[in-house]
Subunit: 273 residues, 2 copies
């Protein structure tokens, strides 16, 4: 059996960029098993030596060369980490020289900046959006004037995580409206949503999946019965079609994919945090 | 004046990996102004041609060569996008060959997998953690048995966004406990937290910053007065010292940095979503 390969995400900041690209790379190699470890905030020679030793020891223990996904931009720190003997994948290096040539500018050594707090105003926007998502969750506050996006769907269709993701990563005020029994029976959107048509996006889900999710929440209730789920989903989808809402099924869709599709559909562009 | 440089994040999936590394690269070039655009889900030749044309037109309009941060792994799609004439930064290419050699395995072409829904169980954990964070926010439910992390601090010190981030990106059940007037006066942690010492992490904040944040929330209230903020922060920090809690100031710290430090301090390792 092939030994499990140790992977280290090493960074002078949070290590999120290194882990994001590293994870994307590893998913392309399905035959190898990996163990992953994060070594963030490596911003001094001492910390680099510590990291280096930890990597070397992991390699010795596993009997196989570790992989180091590195985002430290400082040459001296890089050199120390490379002494670990791991396979160094330096995630910025290949792009710096072409960018410098194209932009006619030398890159600045800004250690650990990518996920640091650079812009107070942007940070504020992010936190406000987060508060907005939490206070406008589940139809708690029915004032949608400040909403940039309103997700509509039956309970547990994936609205809340998507709203929170949009707030955290794009600073977007996203509200959500759970279709009530009354709405479903009336076969139309409530009057309160009508002035906000251009912000609406419908989320739907496979009834069997919905049944599983609701079972975990309220086992053996009317709410979680498969029949209830089937009926509610059919009624919601009927409303979406009548109202010509763009709709997405969340059944096989990650929170990131839903968010990305909602933004693209509604034509909202915002830089990512 | 240098023209604003158009940047495109092009991907066969959500484009999150491309945007993450692209953003990290651009922050290293402070003299150039960029406009950024995301073109996700480019998974057919037709969509690639559309993307290519959009990039070419943006370059013509700006009078400068666009930069394309690309994560499409398919060679044919890559070729079409490259016809746009933009500077192609192919974020996976430099690492594939060294990894293939090291692992003795050829990478699979798994289009748009990184932020897709690969693992149902992991996805479930993520959604459960998210629900946990929302129902255990702000001391609403005082049962901490299932918590992996409990953030402690005065109101508006940054607990909620951090809990939600930990849930969304690491599937971690993080609760938060806002120190009450009673706790602060008693100069100690409430009894309910004592059995969970090893999960506790203290968040503090500069009183002036706290005052600004609270002012936005409840302007000119006793809650938001600078004097109140100063007193509460001093009392909270006194409790943290007495109880020897690891503490972090959130004043100049991003949500990502706080999360990363909390995980490192409490020795929790979890793969990132």
């Amino acid at each position: 059996m092939t030994p499990t390969r140790p992977v280290f995400y090493v960074s002078d900041g949070t290590g999120i960029t290194a882990e994001t690209i590293g994870h994307s790379l590893l998913t392309q190699f399905a035959d190898t098993r990996f163990t992953t470890d994060r070594i963030p905030f490596v911003d001094t020679a001492d910390k680099a030596r510590e990291a280096s030793q930890r990597i070397r020891e992991a390699g010795e223990a596993a009997g196989v060369r570790p992989i180091v996904v590195n985002s430290c931009v400082d040459n001296e720190l890089y050199r120390i980490i490379a002494e670990s003997g791991g396979l160094m994948l330096d995630i910025f290096a290949p792009f710096i020289e072409p960018l410098e040539r194209e932009l006619g500018e030398t890159r600045k050594l800004r250690v650990g900046q990518a996920h640091g707090m650079v812009d107070f105003e942007a940070y504020h926007r992010r936190i406000n959006a987060m508060n907005y998502a939490l206070t406008h969750d589940d139809g708690m506050i029915m004032d949608f004037d400040d909403a940039e996006i309103i997700l509509v769907g039956v309970s547990r269709a994936g609205k809340t995580p998507t709203c929170v993701y949009l707030a955290l990563h794009y600073g977007i005020c996203a509200a959500n409206y759970p279709l009530t029994e009354e709405d479903l029976e009336a076969d139309r959107l409530p009057a309160k949503l009508r002035p906000h048509r251009h912000k609406l996006f419908g989320l739907t889900i496979d009834p069997i999946r919905l049944h599983q999710i609701r079972q975990e929440r309220r086992p053996n209730s009317k709410y979680s019965q498969l029949d209830t789920c089937k009926r509610e989903v059919a009624q919601a989808e009927h409303i979406f079609r009548n109202e010509r809402l763009t709709t997405l099924s969340t059944t096989h869709t990650s929170i990131e994919e839903i968010s990305s599709k909602v933004l693209t559909t509604l034509g909202i562009h915002r830089e990512m945090f």
